[in-house]
């Protein structure tokens, strides 16, 4: 059930009604939280009921693991227990997500040196959302180990926070220390928050269905005919894909965060206008913020972070970005994408002084800041080629077409509305960049707000892609 399908709207409508009816009429303060947990499992079961068993197993490992970690008072014993739990969680993730990749790579490598190895495949289907809830679970276990949070004894709150349906498919990877307390307390309806949630859902739908999905259809055409594409087509497809993936993922995140607000749950922000960033490190503070902060806290810092030699730090950066790349999928294209971003970071750290925020130093001036922003966007756009490509070979074929002379102007006509829409979106986002999301218009008068909502809905109806294209990040 994709967020952009009407079924999701129907599901949320009835879930909303049931949860708040339960809050009002069922005795016991936790009834609606239990109901929300059941609805979340029901939502997951609509994809494939067997995945619920996996989610339940991960939940049990996290809940029991947290208590088990807390029970071991001696630090070395705790460390061993944490290692076991991390291996268990990563083992499950690896089995479902990476087994085929490593088996294929191993047999290809063996074949390269003349040894024939029979390929082993388990025929496992990758459960949607596994990367998100496994990382959330790991986050909880490591936090308990680090004593930055106490283990919860509230099984319903723990299970509810992990299975909460809006964040199940594509995040954000909200930390359990932020989420569990929201499920542990009595749920009250917050009308202001719910209204803002609906606005955010609408904004997410506009970004996803109007911008991302329409661009996606065109970018797919260029990629499918990449052997015959010319330089301008490739260039346009590269830039538009940058817009597509941003609108796709941030749109999905907005729908998730907005839906959560309907149930009085606040999920973490995942995007902060990343293409306005000056510098790669600044980009990663604004792009998929929950994953980048997760990788920083649980990989980079665990490896030693900044408090090591320069070479070691650079190696840590590379390892962290390779892990981020692999998190997206078991493919060399994601490894290449992660390696490129690691390299960008290393180069930026080596060439420039570390800064506390992503603002350019004063003497830099606006012109240099714009150049830096454009350079950052260009570097990120180049890396997206590897992210989008089905294989590394396809990526190089695609890039090689940059050397081909552009075709007649009339062939670019289908790109014009997409480029204009992208430019319009970024102009709008520039002026609303201090807002939490693009439709945070709660301060306006009711008639003006209704005009804004109705306009957004009409734009969605008349230009939105209604074929329910899956979100790019749902597959991860």
């Amino acid at each position: 059930m994709l967020f952009t399908s009407y079924r999701y709207g129907v599901f949320v409508f009835f879930a909303f009604a049931l949860v708040w009816l339960a809050a009002r009429y069922v005795r016991g303060s936790r009834a609606n939280t239990v109901l929300l947990l059941l609805l979340s499992y029901g939502f997951y079961a609509l994809w494939d009921w067997r995945w619920c068993l996996l989610l339940a197993a991960i939940t049990v490992s996290g809940y029991a693991g947290g208590l088990w970690l807390d029970a071991g008072r001696a630090r070395p014993r705790q460390k061993l227990r944490l290692a076991l739990l991390v291996v268990l969680n990563l083992g499950v993730l690896g089995l479902f997500k990476y087994f085929a990749f490593f088996a294929d790579s191993f047999s290809a490598l063996a074949a390269h040196v003349g040894i024939h190895v029979d390929e082993v495949t388990l025929g496992l289907i990758l459960p949607i959302g596994i990367s998100y809830y496994t990382f959330q679970n790991l986050s909880y276990l490591i936090d308990v180990y680090r004593r930055t949070m106490s283990p919860t004894r509230d099984a319903v709150a723990f299970a509810g926070s992990l299975a909460f349906f809006p964040q199940l498919l594509a995040g954000p990877i909200t930390r359990p220390r932020d989420l569990i307390p929201q499920f542990a307390r009595r749920r009250e309806f917050d009308a202001e928050l719910a209204q803002d949630g609906l606005r955010q859902v609408l904004w997410g739908l506009v970004k996803k269905m109007v911008i991302a999905d329409n661009i996606g259809a065109r970018v797919d055409v260029v990629w499918a005919g990449r052997r015959h594409a010319n330089s301008l087509e490739v260039l346009l497809a590269m830039v538009l894909y940058s817009v597509q993936i941003y609108c796709d993922f941030s749109g999905y995140a907005d729908i998730a965060i907005g839906t959560a607000k309907l149930f009085n749950v606040r999920l973490s922000r995942n995007f902060d206008y990343p293409y306005f960033a000056v510098g790669i490190r600044a980009f990663w503070r604004r792009w998929h913020m929950t994953l980048s902060s997760w990788a920083r806290d649980y990989i980079y810092i665990s490896l030693g972070g900044n408090r090591v030699s320069r070479w070691r730090r650079n190696a840590n950066v590379m390892l962290t970005f390779l892990a981020i790349g692999l998190w997206h999928g078991a493919d060399w294209t994601f490894v290449a994408w992660g390696a490129l971003h690691g390299l960008y970071n290393v180069v930026e750290t080596t060439l420039g002084r570390p800064r506390a925020n992503d603002r350019p130093p004063r003497p830099m001036g606006r012109r240099l800041a714009v150049s830096g922003g454009v350079l950052t966007f260009a570097a990120v756009t180049f890396a997206w080629v590897f992210f989008r490509a089905p294989t590394l070979r396809a990526a190089f074929v695609f890039l090689s077409r940059l050397a081909v002379a552009p075709g007649p102007l009339s062939t670019y006509r289908p790109f014009v509305p997409l480029v204009l829409a992208s430019a319009g979106l970024f102009t709008y986002e520039w002026f609303t960049r201090r807002w939490e999301h693009g439709l945070a218009v709660g301060r306006l008068s009711v008639p003006v707000r209704w005009v804004v909502y109705l306009t957004a809905c009409m734009v969605l109806l008349l230009t939105g892609y209604l074929g329910a294209r899956s979100g790019i990040y749902v597959q991860f």
Partner: protein, 382 residues
């Protein structure tokens, strides 16, 4: 505010939005209208319902743009002519096809049948029997009804790759249309097992501009509402797309031979059947040119396997003629550089209809296919 009041306000907003979009799609950018279809219980012929809306406006694209106004004649076909049985000694051309012949994308005065009639002269009426989604089996079945009712002395069928492959590869499963199934070493024809009638719900939904917009302009799947047509119907367009993807790989004639062989038996069965049902009536299969651009690479490119199979079967039947429309389209493109696709990107525009009509008329003339009748042709050279 309580959750209940919140929900009520949300529902009110949805209702206001539905009313606004209904008004918008009725008066500002009108949603597409399509004929209501019906199926005769006696002849099992599937056509537009002349007792429902007789005319309407077809539009295309998400921000709807006007394509054409259509009219349904007394017989239930989208044509400006009144269909009557051929007079003894007179001429009559029956033109069959799918949505290209139905022609919702082109003004009726520029339809293929109207163009062909204009070229053949006033004494040669051209009756169009076009239906969106039809393929070879439907032409064969409808031709029997047309022969019994109007007695044409020439049959022209505008075929695309999908029309043939939908017949021979995806037969069965759609209960309202004829299809063929393997039987022993050959095939047999299976008549419709159900008679289609538009449901009351679909007819009601058809009155809503918003639903028509979602269905015909946005091509969205609406739960429980299949508009006019029926879910699951195999269409020529599906297979046509498959044809295009195969075409983009520019295969050689040798590499496609197995494909041709695989579709030959069913194609032969259907063409034989058509000839047997219409003894003595010449049949022209006009294989559509590429509706997309460019068409300049046609020379030397082999026909798609389904078309090649049809060409080979036609060569076996003296009654049948195969006209490859790609060449006239290619020549026209080289001469005028005028595009052939309608606004919907999936059908002929008026120019393409004119090019196709000229090529068909010239072929009829040069093959002397109407020599037996007292009609005089005014067709030019292709």
């Amino acid at each position: 505010m309580t959750p209940f009041r919140f929900l009520v306000r949300f529902v009110v907003f949805v209702l206001v939005f539905v009313a606004l979009s209904e008004a918008w799609l009725r008066y500002v950018t009108p949603a597409s209208e399509q004929p209501i279809y019906r199926q005769s219980r006696t002849t099992l012929v599937y056509s537009a319902d002349p007792h429902a809306a007789r005319s309407g406006l077809s539009t295309e694209q998400r921000v709807p743009r006007r394509l054409a106004t259509w009219h349904v004649n007394d017989a239930g076909w989208l044509s400006p002519y009144r269909y009557v049985r051929r007079r003894p000694g007179g001429a009559l051309i029956a033109l069959f096809g799918d949505s290209y012949v139905e022609g919702l994308s082109v003004a009726q005065s520029q339809h293929l049948d109207v163009d062909l009639h204009g070229l053949m002269g006033p004494r040669v009426p051209v009756y169009a029997f076009g239906m969106s989604g039809w393929y070879l089996e439907q032409y064969v079945a409808t031709a029997r009804y047309v022969r019994a009712t109007y007695d044409p002395d020439l049959i022209v069928i505008l075929v695309g790759e999908g029309d043939v492959s939908a017949s021979v590869r995806r037969s069965g499963g759609f209960p309202y249309w004829y299809h063929i199934v393997p039987s022993g070493s050959g095939f047999r024809e299976v008549p419709p097992t159900q008679v289609y009638a538009v449901s009351r719900k679909a007819a009601l939904a058809h009155k809503s501009a918003l639903i028509r917009y979602l269905r015909y302009n946005a091509h969205a799947q609406i739960p429980g509402v299949h508009g006019n047509d029926v879910e699951g119907a195999p269409t020529g367009a599906d297979a046509d797309d498959l044809g295009r993807s195969a075409e983009s790989q520019t295969p050689s004639a040798e590499s496609e031979r197995p494909e041709v062989e695989s579709v030959l038996p069913a194609t032969r069965f259907l063409v034989d059947r058509l000839c047997a049902d219409n003894p003595g009536v010449p049949i022209v299969f006009a294989a559509r040119g590429d509706r997309y651009l460019p068409v300049d690479a046609v020379n030397g490119r082999p026909l798609a396997p389904e078309m090649e199979a049809l060409r080979e079967v036609c060569a076996e039947q003296p009654q049948c003629h195969f006209l490859d429309l790609r060449m006239p389209f290619s020549l026209d493109w080289a001469r005028h550089h005028e595009r052939f696709e309608a606004l919907d990107g999936a059908h002929y525009n008026a120019h393409a209809d004119a090019v196709a009509a000229a090529a068909i008329a010239a072929s009829i003339d040069s093959w002397h296919l109407l020599a037996g009748s007292d009609a005089s042709s005014g067709a030019g050279s292709p």
